[in-house]
């Protein structure tokens, strides 16, 4: 269980407070207006942002002061998920060998396997610059597979893709997460992504991340703050 207990994180616009428990194997969407603190919350879970108060725990272990690399978390950003001057093999190799050494035969086989799982068979020698947006997303997901950590954080990684491609990528995330039995926490601007993908929805608005609500219930009767946001966006 990933627990945020009275967590307080400082933002430019004030304080963000969160109190929730998220269950492994579930997919959770963070929704809410721009600047409300969705990515800030993700940063606090990943360890990129120091908590001003409260705790983050995973399976009972206190992560609050644990550095990012020691957290059970892998993360996908909107851009720049791959180092542009390294081949996919070297990029993915970093998940297996954080000391940056060249992957050996065994590592190469695992990398090839991960690439095959995401539909990038035989592309290990390619550099990110030669790939399409969707292929880059797949390659980053292959790295998540290799890291095999139990929490996957997605900071709008597919926002730049068209609707069909985005759906395809979300299906792939679902597959990867299921195979790892991982908890997925995804920030999204698009309620449709949340609706089709997430078991639960967390509304982040007015300085607070509210308790998770089952996706069906959330969209059947959205809270007022969410209606305002959708109205403003529409």
């Amino acid at each position: 269980m990933l627990k945020l207990e009275d967590l307080e994180v400082t933002m430019d616009s004030g304080m963000l407070r969160a109190n929730m428990a998220l269950v492994p194997g579930r997919r959770v969407a963070l929704v809410g207006p721009s600047g409300a603190g969705k990515s800030t919350l993700l940063d606090a879970i990943a360890g990129f942002r120091e908590a001003a108060g409260g705790r983050v725990t995973w399976q009972g272990r206190d992560l609050t002061h644990v550095p990012p690399q020691a957290r059970p978390v892998s993360i996908l950003f909107q851009d720049s998920n791959l180092f542009p001057h390294l081949t996919l093999e070297r990029n993915l190799g970093l998940a297996l060998h954080p000391d940056g050494r060249r992957p050996d035969a065994e590592a190469r086989a695992r990398i090839e396997g991960a690439l095959r799982r995401v539909g990038l068979d035989g592309m290990a020698g390619r550099k990110p610059g030669t790939l399409s947006g969707g292929q880059k997303g797949r390659a980053a997901l292959a790295r998540v597979l290799l890291m095999a950590r139990p929490v996957i954080l997605l900071d709008e990684p597919f926002a730049a893709l068209g609707p069909a491609l985005k759906r395809e990528m979300l299906d792939l995330v679902r597959e990867v997460a299921d195979s790892l039995a991982a908890l997925v926490v995804m920030v999204t601007h698009d309620p449709r992504d949340a609706e089709g993908f997430a078991h639960e929805v967390v509304l982040v608005a007015e300085g607070r991340a509210q308790a998770p609500v089952a996706s069906d219930a959330f969209f059947a009767d959205p809270p007022q703050a969410f209606r305002d946001y959708i109205g403003a966006a529409g």
Binding site: P68, Q69, F83, G100
Partner: protein, 505 residues
């Protein structure tokens, strides 16, 4: 866009004033047969000192830039701003400061003497390299620093999330960035140091520490051997053109480190050792830049009371040169702030002031006494030298104005004059102020072509400082240097501020 006729006139004048003197130099140079062994030695020295200066600058820049990019501390913003200062700092002022710190009776030697160490001599190769590093280390730091600031934040987060070891972070993020930026930084600094005159004049000299630029000056002023001076000028021209072409190829992507400042959020280097290492580099770089400047101010204050009418007259000459140069440079830059105009002005970077000065000298002596023309020629040469920088600053903004409002202008059928008065000039006020400030400060502090032309009655302030130093009136020289520092920075501030006040944003 500026009226076409104006642009063509400006372009023709620019071409005539750069290519004309070069043509005369080429015609006058009888060939390299006129050159003696000393001249070839000057070529070797020029290349060697430029190589050393560029190497030391870029190697030291790596730890300084990395430390500055990833640490937060009080005064960081000020230090980053100060890194831009050497560009407009008069060479002779910096040299005075360096002598105060590293000279015979300087701080470092006194410290070494107290510790029983050896005495350092600032004159010769190491003095020349030291001064070049003083001017160019900040440039290299800025180039690297902006490259680091441009690395996507996600890369550092990814590195932290993956738990990359310090060595792996170095290999994956830092080393590729350094390898991309450093060759460009090296060649740019190498080219700058190839045309070094004032530093070589003040800290070099003698058969073992003469640059080609200095040799041109000596051939003209001391030997009055115009054929040899012209041959040396051709040598300098070939050297600078070749190096300039290499620099354009290598440094095309590197940029000049303008503007970007962002403190990196990195998760490596949190240990005490790494923090201490970074702090040591930041302190060392700050001391290296600031102590000589502080010495100029401290030594100059009492010297201000020793300022003679001669020095004041020289200051007046410098002001006239600076203002004339600025007016001329702006008059050129505005109609030429297009891609073609910038290409046209590019050779001005490769044609050194002394080559241009030698050519103008050869032309003028057919009509007038060249020494009477010292001040106008200095103003002209400085305007030409500053033009590529002014265009670099103005062109992107000028093109943006045309791109953003050109169609509106056409639909309104605005006349050229109305467009210029109501849109173009008001929109370009801020970059014009900045470019004019740079030009004025550079011309105010220039100690180049004036040395070639000046007689005792027509010194500029930098030349006056040099003459006072040469006659060992060090206190008076320190006072004059401080006056020069104030006026150069003051001119820059006035123009830059004038451009910002009430500027259209």
């Amino acid at each position: 866009m500026a009226p076409r006729a104006l642009a063509i006139t400006a372009a023709l004048a620019l071409a005539a004033l750069t290519l004309g003197p070069v043509g005369v130099v080429l015609a006058r140079a009888g060939g390299f047969g006129a050159l003696g062994p000393g001249d070839w030695q000057a070529l070797r020295f020029t290349l060697w000192q430029a190589f050393l200066s560029a190497s030391v600058s870029v190697v030291l820049a790596v730890p300084v830039a990395k430390a500055l990019a990833r640490r937060r501390f009080v005064g960081r913003g000020l230090l980053v701003t100060l890194l831009g200062a050497p560009f407009i700092l008069p060479v002779i002022v910096a040299v005075m400061g360096l002598i105060a710190v590293f000279g015979q009776a300087g701080l470092v030697n006194r410290l070494l003497g107290a510790l029983g160490g050896p005495n350092l001599d600032i004159y010769g190769l190491h003095g020349v390299v030291l001064a070049h590093v003083f001017f160019n280390l900040p440039l290299a730091v800025r180039m690297l620093f902006s490259a680091w600031a441009a690395v996507p934040a996600e890369h550092f987060r990814l590195a932290a999330s993956l738990g990359l070891s310090p060595r792996a972070q170095w290999r994956v993020i830092d080393a590729p960035l350094i390898l991309r930026v450093l060759p460009g930084a090296f060649t740019v600094i190498f080219v700058i140091c190839l045309t070094s005159f004032a530093v070589a004049l003040t800290l070099g000299g003698g058969p073992r520490a003469t640059t080609v630029e200095l040799a041109i000056y000596q051939a003209m002023r001391f030997d009055f051997d115009l054929g040899r001076a012209a041959a040396l000028a051709v040598m300098q021209l070939v050297l600078a053109l070749a190096a300039g072409l290499v620099a354009l190829r290598v440094a095309g992507q590197a940029g000049f480190g303008a503007g970007r400042d962002r403190i990196l959020s990195r998760w490596d280097g949190q240990g005490a050792l790494a923090r201490g290492w970074d702090a040591a580099w930041i302190v060392a770089a700050a001391l290296f830049l600031l102590v000589p400047l502080a010495a100029v101010v401290l030594r100059g204050l009492p010297g201000l009371f020793l300022i003679t009418p001669d020095t004041l007259r020289a200051a007046g000459h410098s002001l006239m040169v600076a203002l004339g140069s600025t007016a001329l440079c702006m008059a050129w830059a505005l109609p030429l702030s297009t891609r073609r105009g910038e290409l046209l002005a590019l050779p001005a970077i490769a044609i050194s002031p002394l080559v241009l000065g030698a050519g103008l000298f050869l032309i003028l002596r057919n009509f007038v006494n060249p020494f009477d023309m010292a001040l106008p020629v200095t103003g002209l040469v400085n305007a030409l030298m500053a033009l590529p920088f002014a265009l670099r600053i103005l062109r992107p903004e000028a093109e943006a104005v045309t791109r953003d409002y050109g169609r509106l202008r056409a639909s309104l059928r605005m006349t050229s004059l109305a467009w210029l008065r109501l849109v173009w000039l008001p929109r370009l006020r801020r970059p014009m102020g900045f470019a004019a400030g740079l030009t004025a400060a550079l011309a105010m502090g220039d100690l180049g072509v004036i040395a070639l032309f000046a007689d005792p009655d027509r010194a500029t302030l930098p030349l006056q400082v040099y003459r006072l130093m040469g006659s060992y009136q060090m206190e008076a020289a320190a006072g004059a240097a401080l006056l020069l520092l104030f006026t150069s920075l003051g001119l820059f501030w006035l123009f830059d501020r004038g451009g910002r006040l009430g500027a259209e944003t």
